[in-house]
Symmetry: C2
Protein backbone atom coordinates (compact mmCIF):
# COMPACT_ATOMS: atom_id res chain seq x y z
CA UNK A 1 0.00 0.00 0.00
CA UNK A 2 2.93 2.31 -0.52
CA UNK A 3 2.18 3.53 -3.98
CA UNK A 4 -0.41 6.17 -4.59
CA UNK A 5 -3.43 5.08 -6.61
CA UNK A 6 -4.04 8.64 -7.68
CA UNK A 7 -4.60 8.93 -11.37
CA UNK A 8 -2.98 12.09 -12.57
CA UNK A 9 -4.38 12.64 -16.01
CA UNK A 10 -2.01 10.62 -18.05
CA UNK A 11 -3.70 10.48 -21.43
CA UNK A 12 -0.63 9.11 -23.11
CA UNK A 13 -0.93 5.64 -21.71
CA UNK A 14 -4.22 4.27 -20.41
CA UNK A 15 -4.28 4.62 -16.64
CA UNK A 16 -4.86 2.03 -13.94
CA UNK A 17 -8.63 1.92 -14.11
CA UNK A 18 -10.78 -0.88 -15.44
CA UNK A 19 -9.97 -0.87 -19.09
CA UNK A 20 -13.54 -1.02 -20.31
CA UNK A 21 -14.30 2.09 -18.31
CA UNK A 22 -11.62 4.04 -20.08
CA UNK A 23 -12.79 2.74 -23.41
CA UNK A 24 -16.31 3.78 -22.63
CA UNK A 25 -15.06 7.24 -21.84
CA UNK A 26 -13.20 7.46 -25.11
CA UNK A 27 -16.23 6.30 -27.05
CA UNK A 28 -18.57 8.76 -25.33
CA UNK A 29 -16.20 11.59 -26.05
CA UNK A 30 -15.94 10.48 -29.63
CA UNK A 31 -19.70 10.50 -29.95
CA UNK A 32 -20.03 13.90 -28.33
CA UNK A 33 -17.31 15.43 -30.43
CA UNK A 34 -18.85 14.16 -33.61
CA UNK A 35 -15.94 11.84 -34.27
CA UNK A 36 -18.57 9.37 -35.37
CA UNK A 37 -21.60 10.57 -37.25
CA UNK A 38 -25.13 9.34 -36.57
CA UNK A 39 -25.91 6.19 -38.47
CA UNK A 40 -22.25 5.38 -38.83
CA UNK A 41 -21.20 1.88 -38.10
CA UNK A 42 -18.97 1.12 -35.12
CA UNK A 43 -16.72 -1.85 -35.74
CA UNK A 44 -15.48 -3.56 -32.61
CA UNK A 45 -12.14 -4.69 -33.92
CA UNK A 46 -11.40 -1.37 -35.51
CA UNK A 47 -11.82 0.42 -32.19
CA UNK A 48 -9.81 -2.28 -30.51
CA UNK A 49 -6.92 -1.88 -32.90
CA UNK A 50 -7.04 1.85 -32.65
CA UNK A 51 -6.87 1.81 -28.87
CA UNK A 52 -4.34 -0.99 -28.82
CA UNK A 53 -6.59 -3.29 -26.87
CA UNK A 54 -8.48 -6.45 -27.48
CA UNK A 55 -12.00 -6.89 -28.69
CA UNK A 56 -13.44 -8.03 -25.37
CA UNK A 57 -13.32 -4.80 -23.36
CA UNK A 58 -14.59 -2.88 -26.36
CA UNK A 59 -17.61 -5.13 -26.53
CA UNK A 60 -18.35 -4.53 -22.88
CA UNK A 61 -18.02 -0.79 -23.30
CA UNK A 62 -20.37 -0.88 -26.26
CA UNK A 63 -22.97 -2.71 -24.19
CA UNK A 64 -22.94 0.14 -21.72
CA UNK A 65 -23.35 2.68 -24.47
CA UNK A 66 -26.31 0.70 -25.64
CA UNK A 67 -28.07 1.06 -22.31
CA UNK A 68 -27.46 4.79 -22.59
CA UNK A 69 -29.20 4.61 -25.97
CA UNK A 70 -26.24 6.22 -27.68
CA UNK A 71 -25.84 3.33 -30.05
CA UNK A 72 -28.05 0.61 -31.41
CA UNK A 73 -26.98 -2.95 -31.87
CA UNK A 74 -28.52 -5.74 -33.86
CA UNK A 75 -27.43 -9.31 -33.17
CA UNK A 76 -24.81 -10.46 -35.64
CA UNK A 77 -24.92 -7.11 -37.36
CA UNK A 78 -23.10 -4.84 -34.99
CA UNK A 79 -23.51 -1.37 -33.61
CA UNK A 80 -24.45 1.94 -35.21
CA UNK A 81 -24.48 5.42 -33.83
CA UNK A 82 -28.05 6.28 -33.09
CA UNK A 83 -29.54 9.07 -35.15
CA UNK A 84 -30.93 11.22 -32.40
CA UNK A 85 -33.00 14.31 -32.72
CA UNK A 86 -35.81 16.30 -31.26
CA UNK A 87 -37.87 13.17 -31.05
CA UNK A 88 -35.46 11.71 -28.52
CA UNK A 89 -35.60 14.82 -26.40
CA UNK A 90 -39.36 14.64 -26.47
CA UNK A 91 -39.17 11.12 -25.11
CA UNK A 92 -36.40 11.56 -22.57
CA UNK A 93 -37.46 14.70 -20.80
CA UNK A 94 -40.90 13.58 -19.67
CA UNK A 95 -39.25 10.58 -18.05
CA UNK A 96 -36.68 12.79 -16.39
CA UNK A 97 -39.43 15.11 -15.23
CA UNK A 98 -41.32 12.24 -13.66
CA UNK A 99 -38.25 10.95 -11.87
CA UNK A 100 -37.28 14.36 -10.59
CA UNK A 101 -40.79 14.98 -9.38
CA UNK A 102 -40.46 11.92 -7.19
CA UNK A 103 -36.98 12.99 -6.19
CA UNK A 104 -38.16 16.43 -5.14
CA UNK A 105 -40.85 14.98 -2.94
CA UNK A 106 -38.46 12.58 -1.25
CA UNK A 107 -35.67 15.12 -0.96
CA UNK A 108 -37.72 18.07 0.23
CA UNK A 109 -37.13 17.67 3.97
CA UNK A 110 -33.42 17.10 3.58
CA UNK A 111 -32.99 20.02 1.19
CA UNK A 112 -35.05 22.37 3.32
CA UNK A 113 -32.67 21.67 6.16
CA UNK A 114 -29.54 22.08 4.09
CA UNK A 115 -29.77 23.58 0.61
CA UNK A 116 -26.10 24.45 0.53
CA UNK A 117 -25.22 21.92 -2.14
CA UNK A 118 -27.82 23.38 -4.46
CA UNK A 119 -26.72 26.90 -3.70
CA UNK A 120 -23.17 26.01 -4.55
CA UNK A 121 -24.24 24.72 -7.96
CA UNK A 122 -26.41 27.73 -8.62
CA UNK A 123 -23.50 30.03 -7.95
CA UNK A 124 -21.19 28.02 -10.15
CA UNK A 125 -23.79 28.01 -12.90
CA UNK A 126 -24.22 31.76 -12.69
CA UNK A 127 -20.49 32.28 -12.82
CA UNK A 128 -20.17 29.99 -15.84
CA UNK A 129 -23.05 31.76 -17.56
CA UNK A 130 -21.40 35.12 -16.96
CA UNK A 131 -18.18 33.80 -18.44
CA UNK A 132 -20.02 32.24 -21.35
CA UNK A 133 -18.38 28.90 -20.59
CA UNK A 134 -20.85 26.50 -22.14
CA UNK A 135 -19.38 23.22 -21.02
CA UNK A 136 -19.24 24.43 -17.45
CA UNK A 137 -22.83 25.56 -17.74
CA UNK A 138 -23.80 22.08 -18.78
CA UNK A 139 -21.78 20.54 -16.00
CA UNK A 140 -23.30 22.59 -13.24
CA UNK A 141 -26.80 22.48 -14.66
CA UNK A 142 -26.67 18.72 -14.62
CA UNK A 143 -24.97 18.63 -11.27
CA UNK A 144 -27.75 20.70 -9.77
CA UNK A 145 -30.33 18.17 -10.82
CA UNK A 146 -28.16 15.28 -9.77
CA UNK A 147 -27.84 16.85 -6.35
CA UNK A 148 -31.60 16.89 -5.97
CA UNK A 149 -31.87 13.27 -6.99
CA UNK A 150 -29.03 12.34 -4.70
CA UNK A 151 -30.72 14.10 -1.81
CA UNK A 152 -33.71 11.82 -2.25
CA UNK A 153 -31.50 9.11 -0.77
CA UNK A 154 -32.92 6.41 -2.98
CA UNK A 155 -30.29 4.41 -4.79
CA UNK A 156 -32.70 2.98 -7.33
CA UNK A 157 -33.91 6.43 -8.20
CA UNK A 158 -30.38 7.69 -8.60
CA UNK A 159 -29.38 4.69 -10.67
CA UNK A 160 -32.41 5.04 -12.91
CA UNK A 161 -31.84 8.75 -13.34
CA UNK A 162 -28.20 8.19 -14.21
CA UNK A 163 -29.19 5.59 -16.76
CA UNK A 164 -30.87 8.33 -18.74
CA UNK A 165 -27.41 9.72 -19.43
CA UNK A 166 -28.44 13.24 -18.60
CA UNK A 167 -24.96 14.64 -19.02
CA UNK A 168 -24.48 13.22 -22.46
CA UNK A 169 -27.91 14.06 -23.74
CA UNK A 170 -27.76 17.60 -22.47
CA UNK A 171 -24.45 18.08 -24.22
CA UNK A 172 -25.94 16.59 -27.37
CA UNK A 173 -28.95 18.89 -27.14
CA UNK A 174 -26.71 21.89 -27.02
CA UNK A 175 -24.32 20.73 -29.67
CA UNK A 176 -26.65 19.24 -32.23
CA UNK A 177 -29.79 21.21 -31.64
CA UNK A 178 -28.22 24.47 -30.56
CA UNK A 179 -30.33 24.42 -27.45
CA UNK A 180 -30.03 27.52 -25.37
CA UNK A 181 -29.16 27.19 -21.72
CA UNK A 182 -29.40 30.78 -20.55
CA UNK A 183 -32.27 31.69 -18.26
CA UNK A 184 -31.79 28.30 -16.68
CA UNK A 185 -29.72 29.82 -13.94
CA UNK A 186 -32.67 31.89 -12.79
CA UNK A 187 -34.86 28.80 -12.70
CA UNK A 188 -32.35 26.98 -10.57
CA UNK A 189 -32.14 29.84 -8.13
CA UNK A 190 -35.91 29.94 -7.82
CA UNK A 191 -36.14 26.20 -7.27
CA UNK A 192 -33.45 26.34 -4.64
CA UNK A 193 -35.38 29.05 -2.84
CA UNK A 194 -38.52 26.94 -2.96
CA UNK A 195 -36.64 24.01 -1.45
CA UNK A 196 -35.23 26.17 1.30
CA UNK A 197 -38.64 27.52 2.16
CA UNK A 198 -40.30 24.14 2.08
CA UNK A 199 -42.65 25.16 -0.70
CA UNK A 200 -44.84 22.11 -1.39
CA UNK A 201 -45.08 23.10 -5.04
CA UNK A 202 -41.36 22.61 -5.56
CA UNK A 203 -41.84 19.19 -7.13
CA UNK A 204 -44.12 20.52 -9.81
CA UNK A 205 -41.80 23.47 -10.28
CA UNK A 206 -38.83 21.21 -10.87
CA UNK A 207 -40.81 18.97 -13.16
CA UNK A 208 -41.99 21.91 -15.23
CA UNK A 209 -38.46 23.22 -15.37
CA UNK A 210 -37.22 19.96 -16.82
CA UNK A 211 -40.00 19.88 -19.38
CA UNK A 212 -38.96 23.37 -20.39
CA UNK A 213 -35.76 21.90 -21.74
CA UNK A 214 -37.83 20.18 -24.37
CA UNK A 215 -39.50 23.44 -25.25
CA UNK A 216 -36.11 25.04 -25.57
CA UNK A 217 -34.90 22.22 -27.78
CA UNK A 218 -38.02 22.37 -29.92
CA UNK A 219 -37.84 26.12 -30.21
CA UNK A 220 -34.19 26.16 -31.11
CA UNK A 221 -34.91 23.58 -33.74
CA UNK A 222 -37.76 25.69 -35.02
CA UNK A 223 -40.25 23.87 -37.14
CA UNK A 224 -37.93 21.07 -38.14
CA UNK A 225 -40.09 17.94 -38.00
Amino acid sequence: MVDLPQLPDDPSKLAREPLREQIRQVLVEGLLSGRWQPGERIVERRIATELKVSQAPVREALRELETLRLIETVPNKGARVRAFGVQDMAEIYPVRAGLELVAAQLAAPRLAADPSALEREVEALQAATARGDVSEQIRHSVEFHREVVRAADNSVLLHTWESLGVEVWTALSVRWLNMELHAKAADHAQITRAFREGDPAVGQMLSDHVLNYVEAALKSHEGAR
Copy 2:
Protein backbone atom coordinates in the same frame (compact mmCIF):
# COMPACT_ATOMS: atom_id res chain seq x y z
CA MET B 1 -37.33 -15.49 -47.29
CA VAL B 2 -38.93 -18.87 -47.74
CA ASP B 3 -38.13 -20.44 -44.42
CA LEU B 4 -40.03 -19.50 -41.30
CA PRO B 5 -37.94 -17.94 -38.56
CA GLN B 6 -40.20 -19.40 -35.91
CA LEU B 7 -38.27 -20.87 -33.06
CA PRO B 8 -40.14 -23.90 -31.86
CA ASP B 9 -39.05 -24.53 -28.31
CA ASP B 10 -36.12 -26.82 -28.69
CA PRO B 11 -34.75 -26.97 -25.18
CA SER B 12 -32.60 -29.98 -25.89
CA LYS B 13 -29.83 -28.10 -27.62
CA LEU B 14 -29.38 -24.39 -27.06
CA ALA B 15 -31.47 -22.72 -29.72
CA ARG B 16 -30.45 -20.14 -32.29
CA GLU B 17 -30.63 -17.19 -29.95
CA PRO B 18 -27.71 -15.11 -28.79
CA LEU B 19 -25.93 -17.30 -26.31
CA ARG B 20 -25.57 -14.60 -23.69
CA GLU B 21 -29.31 -14.16 -23.72
CA GLN B 22 -29.90 -17.77 -22.88
CA ILE B 23 -27.30 -17.61 -20.15
CA ARG B 24 -28.97 -14.56 -18.71
CA GLN B 25 -32.22 -16.45 -18.66
CA VAL B 26 -30.66 -19.36 -16.84
CA LEU B 27 -29.07 -17.09 -14.28
CA VAL B 28 -32.27 -15.18 -13.63
CA GLU B 29 -34.15 -18.40 -13.13
CA GLY B 30 -31.45 -19.61 -10.80
CA LEU B 31 -31.73 -16.47 -8.74
CA LEU B 32 -35.51 -16.63 -8.63
CA SER B 33 -35.54 -20.27 -7.69
CA GLY B 34 -33.10 -19.75 -4.89
CA ARG B 35 -30.46 -21.82 -6.61
CA TRP B 36 -28.05 -19.18 -5.40
CA GLN B 37 -28.52 -17.61 -2.02
CA PRO B 38 -28.16 -13.90 -1.32
CA GLY B 39 -24.58 -12.94 -0.63
CA GLU B 40 -23.32 -16.02 -2.38
CA ARG B 41 -20.50 -15.56 -4.76
CA ILE B 42 -20.99 -16.13 -8.48
CA VAL B 43 -17.87 -17.40 -10.18
CA GLU B 44 -17.74 -16.77 -13.90
CA ARG B 45 -15.81 -19.83 -14.90
CA ARG B 46 -17.86 -22.12 -12.71
CA ILE B 47 -21.01 -21.03 -14.50
CA ALA B 48 -19.22 -21.30 -17.80
CA THR B 49 -18.13 -24.85 -17.12
CA GLU B 50 -21.52 -25.82 -15.86
CA LEU B 51 -23.27 -24.52 -18.96
CA LYS B 52 -20.58 -25.86 -21.26
CA VAL B 53 -19.74 -22.42 -22.60
CA SER B 54 -16.89 -20.00 -22.39
CA GLN B 55 -16.34 -17.24 -19.89
CA ALA B 56 -17.07 -14.40 -22.29
CA PRO B 57 -20.83 -14.74 -22.74
CA VAL B 58 -21.21 -15.38 -19.03
CA ARG B 59 -19.51 -12.09 -18.29
CA GLU B 60 -21.84 -10.27 -20.61
CA ALA B 61 -24.87 -11.88 -19.03
CA LEU B 62 -23.62 -10.91 -15.58
CA ARG B 63 -23.31 -7.31 -16.67
CA GLU B 64 -26.95 -7.28 -17.58
CA LEU B 65 -27.89 -8.76 -14.26
CA GLU B 66 -25.93 -6.00 -12.65
CA THR B 67 -28.00 -3.32 -14.34
CA LEU B 68 -31.06 -5.14 -13.03
CA ARG B 69 -29.49 -4.85 -9.59
CA LEU B 70 -29.77 -8.56 -9.04
CA ILE B 71 -26.07 -8.91 -8.40
CA GLU B 72 -23.30 -6.64 -7.21
CA THR B 73 -19.89 -6.53 -8.79
CA VAL B 74 -16.64 -5.25 -7.36
CA PRO B 75 -13.71 -4.80 -9.75
CA ASN B 76 -11.26 -7.67 -9.54
CA LYS B 77 -13.36 -9.29 -6.87
CA GLY B 78 -16.29 -10.64 -8.76
CA ALA B 79 -20.03 -10.81 -8.41
CA ARG B 80 -22.24 -11.65 -5.47
CA VAL B 81 -25.97 -12.20 -5.27
CA ARG B 82 -27.46 -9.06 -3.84
CA ALA B 83 -29.07 -9.44 -0.46
CA PHE B 84 -32.41 -7.84 -1.17
CA GLY B 85 -35.16 -7.14 1.24
CA VAL B 86 -37.87 -4.75 2.21
CA GLN B 87 -35.46 -1.89 1.83
CA ASP B 88 -35.16 -2.60 -1.89
CA MET B 89 -38.89 -2.63 -2.32
CA ALA B 90 -39.09 0.67 -0.52
CA GLU B 91 -36.67 2.12 -3.04
CA ILE B 92 -37.98 0.51 -6.19
CA TYR B 93 -41.68 1.13 -5.90
CA PRO B 94 -41.60 4.92 -5.58
CA VAL B 95 -39.60 5.01 -8.79
CA ARG B 96 -42.08 2.72 -10.49
CA ALA B 97 -44.92 4.83 -9.21
CA GLY B 98 -43.36 7.96 -10.64
CA LEU B 99 -42.80 6.38 -14.00
CA GLU B 100 -46.27 4.94 -14.20
CA LEU B 101 -47.76 8.27 -13.24
CA VAL B 102 -46.11 9.76 -16.29
CA ALA B 103 -47.17 6.77 -18.34
CA ALA B 104 -50.78 7.13 -17.30
CA GLN B 105 -50.86 10.76 -18.31
CA LEU B 106 -49.34 10.06 -21.69
CA ALA B 107 -51.39 6.95 -22.30
CA ALA B 108 -54.74 8.27 -21.14
CA PRO B 109 -56.11 9.30 -24.54
CA ARG B 110 -55.05 6.10 -26.21
CA LEU B 111 -56.41 3.90 -23.44
CA ALA B 112 -59.68 5.79 -23.24
CA ALA B 113 -60.19 5.01 -26.89
CA ASP B 114 -59.24 1.37 -26.61
CA PRO B 115 -58.89 -0.21 -23.17
CA SER B 116 -59.24 -3.73 -24.53
CA ALA B 117 -55.65 -4.72 -23.79
CA LEU B 118 -56.10 -3.78 -20.16
CA GLU B 119 -59.41 -5.56 -19.96
CA ARG B 120 -57.85 -8.69 -21.32
CA GLU B 121 -55.21 -8.66 -18.61
CA VAL B 122 -57.73 -7.96 -15.89
CA GLU B 123 -59.76 -10.96 -16.96
CA ALA B 124 -56.70 -13.18 -17.08
CA LEU B 125 -55.65 -11.97 -13.65
CA GLN B 126 -59.06 -12.67 -12.21
CA ALA B 127 -59.05 -16.13 -13.69
CA ALA B 128 -55.58 -16.84 -12.32
CA THR B 129 -56.60 -15.54 -8.90
CA ALA B 130 -59.65 -17.80 -8.93
CA ARG B 131 -57.45 -20.76 -9.79
CA GLY B 132 -54.88 -19.78 -7.19
CA ASP B 133 -52.18 -19.86 -9.84
CA VAL B 134 -49.58 -17.56 -8.33
CA SER B 135 -47.10 -17.39 -11.18
CA GLU B 136 -49.89 -16.52 -13.61
CA GLN B 137 -51.10 -13.85 -11.23
CA ILE B 138 -47.64 -12.31 -11.27
CA ARG B 139 -47.45 -12.54 -15.01
CA HIS B 140 -50.72 -10.81 -15.67
CA SER B 141 -50.29 -8.27 -12.92
CA VAL B 142 -47.02 -7.18 -14.44
CA GLU B 143 -48.39 -7.38 -17.94
CA PHE B 144 -51.21 -5.04 -17.02
CA HIS B 145 -48.77 -2.39 -15.91
CA ARG B 146 -46.53 -2.99 -18.88
CA GLU B 147 -49.51 -2.46 -21.13
CA VAL B 148 -50.11 0.95 -19.61
CA VAL B 149 -46.49 1.93 -20.05
CA ARG B 150 -46.51 0.61 -23.58
CA ALA B 151 -49.59 2.64 -24.40
CA ALA B 152 -47.70 5.80 -23.47
CA ASP B 153 -45.82 5.26 -26.73
CA ASN B 154 -42.54 6.53 -25.32
CA SER B 155 -39.66 4.17 -25.91
CA VAL B 156 -37.45 5.76 -23.27
CA LEU B 157 -40.17 5.40 -20.71
CA LEU B 158 -40.71 1.78 -21.61
CA HIS B 159 -37.00 1.07 -21.59
CA THR B 160 -36.54 2.73 -18.23
CA TRP B 161 -39.50 0.92 -16.77
CA GLU B 162 -38.22 -2.41 -18.03
CA SER B 163 -34.83 -1.71 -16.51
CA LEU B 164 -36.44 -1.84 -13.11
CA GLY B 165 -36.94 -5.56 -13.69
CA VAL B 166 -40.51 -5.44 -12.53
CA GLU B 167 -41.18 -9.06 -13.32
CA VAL B 168 -38.22 -10.33 -11.39
CA TRP B 169 -38.70 -8.11 -8.40
CA THR B 170 -42.38 -8.87 -8.14
CA ALA B 171 -41.60 -12.55 -8.15
CA LEU B 172 -38.95 -11.98 -5.53
CA SER B 173 -41.37 -10.02 -3.39
CA VAL B 174 -43.81 -12.86 -3.43
CA ARG B 175 -41.25 -15.57 -2.91
CA TRP B 176 -38.99 -14.00 -0.32
CA LEU B 177 -41.35 -11.68 1.47
CA ASN B 178 -44.54 -13.69 1.08
CA MET B 179 -46.18 -10.67 -0.42
CA GLU B 180 -49.87 -11.08 -1.01
CA LEU B 181 -51.26 -10.38 -4.43
CA HIS B 182 -54.97 -10.87 -3.87
CA ALA B 183 -57.18 -7.81 -3.96
CA LYS B 184 -54.93 -6.53 -6.73
CA ALA B 185 -57.38 -7.77 -9.32
CA ALA B 186 -60.02 -5.39 -8.03
CA ASP B 187 -57.58 -2.47 -8.22
CA HIS B 188 -56.77 -3.29 -11.78
CA ALA B 189 -60.41 -3.44 -12.75
CA GLN B 190 -61.03 -0.07 -11.15
CA ILE B 191 -58.06 1.50 -12.89
CA THR B 192 -59.17 0.12 -16.20
CA ARG B 193 -62.59 1.63 -15.68
CA ALA B 194 -61.02 4.99 -14.88
CA PHE B 195 -59.01 4.85 -18.09
CA ARG B 196 -62.08 3.98 -20.12
CA GLU B 197 -64.03 6.85 -18.65
CA GLY B 198 -61.19 9.32 -19.08
CA ASP B 199 -61.00 9.99 -15.36
CA PRO B 200 -58.22 12.59 -14.93
CA ALA B 201 -57.36 11.12 -11.54
CA VAL B 202 -56.30 7.83 -13.11
CA GLY B 203 -52.63 8.70 -12.93
CA GLN B 204 -52.71 9.28 -9.21
CA MET B 205 -54.81 6.15 -8.83
CA LEU B 206 -52.25 4.05 -10.64
CA SER B 207 -49.41 5.60 -8.73
CA ASP B 208 -51.11 4.93 -5.41
CA HIS B 209 -51.82 1.40 -6.49
CA VAL B 210 -48.16 0.78 -7.17
CA LEU B 211 -47.14 2.25 -3.85
CA ASN B 212 -49.59 -0.13 -2.23
CA TYR B 213 -47.33 -2.97 -3.25
CA VAL B 214 -44.78 -1.64 -0.83
CA GLU B 215 -47.38 -1.53 1.90
CA ALA B 216 -48.24 -5.11 1.13
CA ALA B 217 -44.61 -6.11 1.25
CA LEU B 218 -44.04 -4.25 4.50
CA LYS B 219 -47.14 -5.70 6.04
CA SER B 220 -46.34 -9.24 5.04
CA HIS B 221 -42.92 -8.79 6.53
CA GLU B 222 -44.47 -7.47 9.70
CA GLY B 223 -42.18 -5.58 11.93
CA ALA B 224 -38.99 -6.98 10.52
CA ARG B 225 -36.63 -4.03 10.27
